[in-house]
Symmetry: D2
Subunit: 351 residues, 4 copies
Amino acid sequence: MDFFSDNSVGASPRVMAALAAANAGSSTSYGKDAWTTRVEARFATLFERKVSAFLVLTGTAANALALASIVRPWGAILAHEEAHVVEDECGAPEFFSDGAKLVDLPGTGAKLTPQAVTKTLSHLRAGDVHHVQAQALTITQATECGTVYTPAEVRALKEAITPRGLKLHMDGARFANALVTLGCTAAEITWKAGVDVLSFGGTKNGALAAEAVIFFDPADAEEMTWRRKRAGQTLSKGRFLGAQFDALLAQDHWLDLARHANACARRLAEAVAKGGAARLAWPCEANEVFLVLPPAVRQRLKAAGIGYHDWSARSLAPEAALKDGEIVGRFVMSFATEPAHVERLIAAIAG
Amino acid sequence: MDFFSDNSVGASPRVMAALAAANAGSSTSYGKDAWTTRVEARFATLFERKVSAFLVLTGTAANALALASIVRPWGAILAHEEAHVVEDECGAPEFFSDGAKLVDLPGTGAKLTPQAVTKTLSHLRAGDVHHVQAQALTITQATECGTVYTPAEVRALKEAITPRGLKLHMDGARFANALVTLGCTAAEITWKAGVDVLSFGGTKNGALAAEAVIFFDPADAEEMTWRRKRAGQTLSKGRFLGAQFDALLAQDHWLDLARHANACARRLAEAVAKGGAARLAWPCEANEVFLVLPPAVRQRLKAAGIGYHDWSARSLAPEAALKDGEIVGRFVMSFATEPAHVERLIAAIAG
Amino acid sequence: MDFFSDNSVGASPRVMAALAAANAGSSTSYGKDAWTTRVEARFATLFERKVSAFLVLTGTAANALALASIVRPWGAILAHEEAHVVEDECGAPEFFSDGAKLVDLPGTGAKLTPQAVTKTLSHLRAGDVHHVQAQALTITQATECGTVYTPAEVRALKEAITPRGLKLHMDGARFANALVTLGCTAAEITWKAGVDVLSFGGTKNGALAAEAVIFFDPADAEEMTWRRKRAGQTLSKGRFLGAQFDALLAQDHWLDLARHANACARRLAEAVAKGGAARLAWPCEANEVFLVLPPAVRQRLKAAGIGYHDWSARSLAPEAALKDGEIVGRFVMSFATEPAHVERLIAAIAG
Amino acid sequence: MDFFSDNSVGASPRVMAALAAANAGSSTSYGKDAWTTRVEARFATLFERKVSAFLVLTGTAANALALASIVRPWGAILAHEEAHVVEDECGAPEFFSDGAKLVDLPGTGAKLTPQAVTKTLSHLRAGDVHHVQAQALTITQATECGTVYTPAEVRALKEAITPRGLKLHMDGARFANALVTLGCTAAEITWKAGVDVLSFGGTKNGALAAEAVIFFDPADAEEMTWRRKRAGQTLSKGRFLGAQFDALLAQDHWLDLARHANACARRLAEAVAKGGAARLAWPCEANEVFLVLPPAVRQRLKAAGIGYHDWSARSLAPEAALKDGEIVGRFVMSFATEPAHVERLIAAIAG
């Protein structure tokens, strides 16, 4: 029994069924198929406007292609120091953008504040030929610490970058989980709050392997066809990308999957908060629970054979700093998490 | 009814079943799963030696990663002027290799000869600081004109490049189709004939989306782990890549699929050769048939609603040059081609 | 005594004097100095219009920066197969452009024809996502074979590319030599004939190390400030770049230097044409003379201790093909060539 | 009268004389000349061992080429957050290295400590495919705050990175100024202390435009010939690079030039320390003086028409933080600084 990641489970049965159904017959290649066309319409409905949607195969590719579309090779991209694009993509943003620079900012709970952004921008001299030029800000929604930006927070970040003309990218690998928590519309948390480009995650939320890059400004999407192909992300049997998103978006299946994962996470978080054997490192706002684990709890988890990942404590608030022997553990819930497993986990923590 | 491409059909039923089976339960991410491990063993058996195998999602990525692993950014890669890496990957080899140069060579039937290679090498000055340095030769097997290199031909090409130290890459998007025709072992047509790196195709031969890069020299593979990840080609739910190849390689399923496609192609080629209404542009040696089509035949195909692609005539032998009104048409057979469709095609051509 | 290259001599005395004069006192760095400002005005006068001029240190950098400014990483640049950008820059255009592809064309005397360009464009499918996109044509003036494009020829090339929207770059490493021969204005052979960007050579014509990139369309120059700096081509003591061009352009010094070099070349070419011991490989239209040398002549040159470079015979016209034992030799004249040396060379050839 | 930078003055008279002398006659191009050969021997003597020395044209190119030689595109380079490579090269290290990541560290006086390095390394997971791989540490000598690393400090940094296998690069744009202060040998502060590659500055210390990349491990230099050419940094009239260094290194001219600059700086620093109208932001250890300037002093400097640059206060020690109205001003001394100007500056500060 493990809570390692939402990518250690498979795909949702509906997604698998959609793939099987899409397998029949012949179809136009390279994304000119009926499934992909339908998905484009679904995204327009979801976002309440025309969007440019590009399906790709991995989250790393989605983020790197999105960022490469909005910065020049001498551009700087502001990001949280523990953002996925900084920590977990092996330099893909630098590769796809032909050398742009990620500028890392600190922030509690992996969240950026307008203050931190403004301070960093003051070091990045606009128009100075000697200096990389700040051109994008990227935020993760939900964050790498399981927290969530509200529309007001996104808007405040956008306002902090607007005077300098930066574009705003949202890494939505766990966009569904954030949306379910926020209870707002997809439009409200993206383009209405100032997001220019969104990496819309599928794989962590029930897809087999499918992500989408959503451009709200068509001008940013103009070169994406070439970028995607040149990066080896244009699937020849493109129907299989379309079919996954088609199944996810139909009848809000993607939100139901996220709701389940979030509910499991909330159940764990509330039990821990009540129990007192461990404490929450950050508020549980999506499908991940980060717990500060004393040695005794860790021993019980080990004895129970329960898997989880040790996690960085860098983004802890100062008042929440680790005490002797404590570490942070990450427990990720997915669409497939069995509630009984969550109860066993709660019991193991409580001792 | 169309014969556009072997990527306009779906995946083999066995591959789909394998994906469904692999979907159960939790599994380690990023290619550390049981399926991928099993596939690595299968490749070792197939090639009669230890190999370094890396699974990726598209053929473009496979070729570009393979080539980037064996050349430096100031390197030159010799290729046929109509090779997939030259014509159909939108500059992916240049992107992944940080700027290496593809040097295009002519050749009948999309095949390169040692003479052409030697002549081109004479223009590429070894060790001259002003000049890009020839570091790799890439050949396609089966070629873009549906022809096949014999082991002796591959060996002769290797001998032509050995004095200059070039590595030999084989783009095996249709490797299965070539192998079935050749009747030799996978080892004989690759490393035993001098191939250093192979793009082993899955997608055009029954996979949903799966390709493998096979390194025969482990030194060439040393950086591939980073390259693949940084290119967004490391699948998080890696089991789904492993499962596809596992199903293909088990019980020679991949060869059976290719045998069917090749048989359909041979049936068409023989019928056309006998019939005389059209003629073969190049010998039919794999699963593609290229026909020189006079206007009357084209009209009959159109009337019958039969789809095919117009094709370049650049690689025709001088004696086979097009006459007035003729064009070249490409007809691709796949694992899923229905023999009845081939008969209808034959009838439409014959008139 | 050698005729290896126009870069094996030093700088013109006036250029050296200008450097010495510019050395006094303090000056703003990075090209914001009085010399560079004056040079920008001189270029505007020379080209009879406002231009964006960027001074750099080497011809390779000038060409690579110019090309990178007018193509995207998935772009194709058409060039003669023996162009300096293809043969002598070790992949700099590919590096600076983040991977664009040079497509090599043949042509007698290193010159491209509209026919060759049109034919190549027919293979490069516009708008096809699988294919690199033709975005620039580059020509060398004077060419690598010492020939020259007339304004009408440049215009015809521009017309061949206009329907496809390619930009036209001129590598003018020996621009002065061409201009002196043509007898037209600098405007007539550049923007008035359709050139969008010009590499204006200084080093081969009396500078110590100075080249300029001249943009006729300011939109192409928008990012050049960043590109040049990021490439390490923005000189901190920028006055020393400005002073070189200031001295060259003042009182048409650059044209006088080129006139001398061309006259030396013409003297040699005419003597050889008359003498008959060797023959011209291509018409002598600038400061280089390419001779087809029989063994006996080569022996006499060797005996006389006269240095020259063996040269490629690829761009010979079919009727001028080499006969047994012949090779092509390149003899380059410079601003500093001593007429007496040319006479000794003529004598050695004549025997 | 200004103290903006050591690149706002010209070249040393001896360097100018050497250029004039080198101008005579014909010489082999591209760095195969007698001057460059002599310089290579001089470097060997200076460093008491064989080195691989590559002359280039700008400091940005020297640093970027040096770093690109010791990291892979997915590598991370640790650097002070105010290092020249981070702040002043417009992304050149990222460009030349095909996308490596600069990881910025804080440190008082622009100096890095082993503690800071070790802490940062703990966030950069070695061998983790998801993460960029720490491969180099770069330090500036003298630093951007005018401070200097001792051999012991360099060695301690080397020890901090050795377990992880990072290479050590030293940006020696002001290497001469540091060496003069340290009083040790060039060998002691470089390879004997663990430096693998050195950017040896010429331009800021009396050259017109000349820098050298010195490799102490020949394996790191293997590809540099291609890298330099491809970057447009291989000067055709290479003798003019050689002649500059030849003049600088002969009879320790370079050290004399630095001694003068340092003496001017020390004079200012001591006068300010005694005078009390302003205070030193950091110890004056080379040729730059950074002063914390109250408003009154700034007004006097303005009235006296004395130029200097405002400077970042980020690297101030906590106890030296700016008080109301204070700013940091940078005053740079060069080989050409007139002592009388320093006295006028001192008087203006004192009021």
